[in-house]
């Protein structure tokens, strides 16, 4: 197992290096420049600024310099935000997005799984139909509609919760709910389908034939076998939730990484775009590793190569 994980970490480094390279050259192919209000600057002034940031060097030289810095953990400085280091920007913004995403993921998955299990047990009953209804709504209606509805009714009409910003737990409630609905719906769908299938399998009859009660049958024998597909979809979902969701962060004025990313793209803030992209990539590859390790923990048949047990 340890050997496998080390091997995977090695691959991760290679993957990240490739992603860094591709993004770097793609970025260089983009039109536009980080200089705002270009027309107000003279040719000479522009040259001085570009020179200062190393943007006038040939692209391969810039590339080597960037990778060199990257290896030392230096992501460069923002061109737009008063010379702030990119790492600082990321470190300020990521925890907020990650926190919001994690809440939404945990709440969404838990509620979704419970809904799915209930629907599977009471297959083709009103419980099933209601759970289905809820998950169809959750999948088909985008989160910003829920966000807007929550803000209007809960925030404005009832005045129960603050409608924007980030800091207190009250401020976290509405964005978390708005964000949790989609993962909840997905988890409910997957859980229901898988659980129905698992509950129809022979080993469930074996478990019942031992005289176990339904709770034991369901949770000791059913759940674990139904988890694999859920883990598969929830992995990438975790990434997209925790790396910041532009829309929800905008609606609730949450200073997260999603919002920052879009701003940087609009302003050609190369170093921030690169930094954020690399962070996303790292997180993604990391979660995939976690998912693979989880597979083995859940299902002994896919214990990873390299391990003996």
């Amino acid at each position: 197992m340890a050997k496998y994980i080390l091997q995977r970490l090695g691959y991760m480094v290679v993957t990240l290096y490739l992603i860094a390279t591709f993004s770097f050259f793609l970025m260089k192919m983009l039109p536009g420049s980080p200089l705002r209000a270009k027309e107000k600057l003279s040719e000479a002034q522009q040259l001085i600024v570009l020179e200062k940031y190393g943007l006038n060097d040939p692209v391969p030289v810039q590339y080597i310099k960037y990778i060199g810095d990257l290896l030392q953990g230096d992501l460069g400085i923002s061109f737009q935000m008063k010379n702030q280091a990119v790492t600082d920007i990321l470190l300020n913004r990521i925890p907020i997005s990650a926190q919001l995403g994690l809440y939404a993921l945990l709440i969404g998955t838990t509620v979704g799984m419970l809904l799915g299990i209930a629907a599977a047990i009471k297959n083709n009953s009103w419980v099933d139909y209601s759970a289905n209804f809820v998950s169809v709504i959750g999948i088909s209606i985008p989160s910003f509609i829920f966000a807007g509805l929550l803000q209007y009714y809960v925030g404005v009409e009832l005045g129960l919760l603050p409608i924007a910003f980030w800091g207190t737990w009250q401020q976290a409630i509405m964005p978390t709910i708005a964000l949790a609905i989609f993962p909840m719906a997905i988890a409910a769908r997957f859980m229901r389908t898988e659980m129905i299938e698992v509950l129809g399998s022979d080993f469930i009859v074996t478990a019942r034939a031992k005289g176990l009660n339904e709770t034991a049958v369901l949770f000791k024998h059913g759940l674990r076998n139904a988890l694999i597909p859920l883990v598969t979809v929830m992995g990438p979902m975790a990434v997209s939730l925790m790396t910041g969701t532009l829309v929800i962060e905008q609606i609730f004025s949450i200073p997260g990484i999603g919002e920052q990313f879009v701003t940087s793209v609009m302003t050609d803030d190369f170093s921030v775009i690169m930094g954020t992209t690399l962070f996303f990539a790292f997180f993604f590859v990391f979660i995939i590793l976690i998912v693979d390790v989880l597979y083995g923990i859940i299902d002994p048949r896919i214990r990873l190569a390299g391990g003996k047990d």
Binding site: T206, G211, D299
Partner: protein
Amino acid sequence: MENILEVKNLHVSFDTHGGEVTAVRGVSFDLKKGETLAIVGESGSGKSVTTRAIARLIPSPPGRIKEGEILFNGKDLAKLKEKQMQQIRGKDISTIFQDPMTSLNPTMKIGKQIMEGLMKHQKMDRSLAKKKAIELLDLVGLPDAKERVDQYPHQFSGGQRQRVVIAIALACNPQILIADEPTTALDVTIQAQILELMKDIQRKTESSIIFITHDLGVVANVADRVAVMYAGKIVEIGTVDEIFYNPKHPYTWGLLGSMPTLDNEEESLVAIPGSPPDMLQPPKGDAFAPRNEYALEIDNELDPPMFKVSDTHYAATWLLHEYAPKVEPPAAVKKRMKGFGNTGASPISKKGDD
């Protein structure tokens, strides 16, 4: 010998979108202490449903026990609440299922799967249950039980898994063991070993076995009595000798005739023509009549009652009525019956009967 189980007029139905499927239509039999009763019949004849109803393992909905009694030590299982049934299932009545590849939980160590029943019914603690699980694995002939108890099902072969399934079923010394085609999914040499194991265990534990199969060779090998089922009813029941040497029901003739043997290579296999009736609309009269070359007029009108052949032998065919024409079993079956006498019923029994 005393009866440990009496099934009386059992009806089991499934409610489907197409209507009510009457899977079991009035089955009655009893099971004595320490005996092995084989239930044979085509797929869909209701053998599995009957035994699942006894263990109350019919999923409901769609299934339900419509009517009838299942008396186990005088208690009517058909009327028990699920909670009470959980105290009996796995403890007094255990089931061995057909397919060892799917009847074990792939994500749980086999030791734990054996221990579950012990911890529930015999209130053993973890370490004691594990010890007992190892003993059970030894009993069912699995080598290196101590190490293997901590392994997962995918680390075992089909035959080994079936041994594990049997160990699970035996864990609490059940009085009744229901074996639902326990050897069908296994290859022939492993079949013989598993049958041998079951006979051996029965000798040691004196439990009663209900053995479902469609393999008559297996029946001859393991059973004391045989019940032949067709379309949700028992059409003939008797001791193994009575069923094999003196079969009365044309359906039993058909089954015996369609049994392949090693020494009749010049003959083609006899098949029963047609297919079993649709149990959504069970036919009027005798369900077997449309496929029965010996069917009488009355078969299309009235379902035959059980006629007594001897104290232990009953068959549901109008041919046994005093007014019925005398009909002999077909020649192929007669020849087959002679064959049983001198060689045993099948290649399997030759191996197993030592």
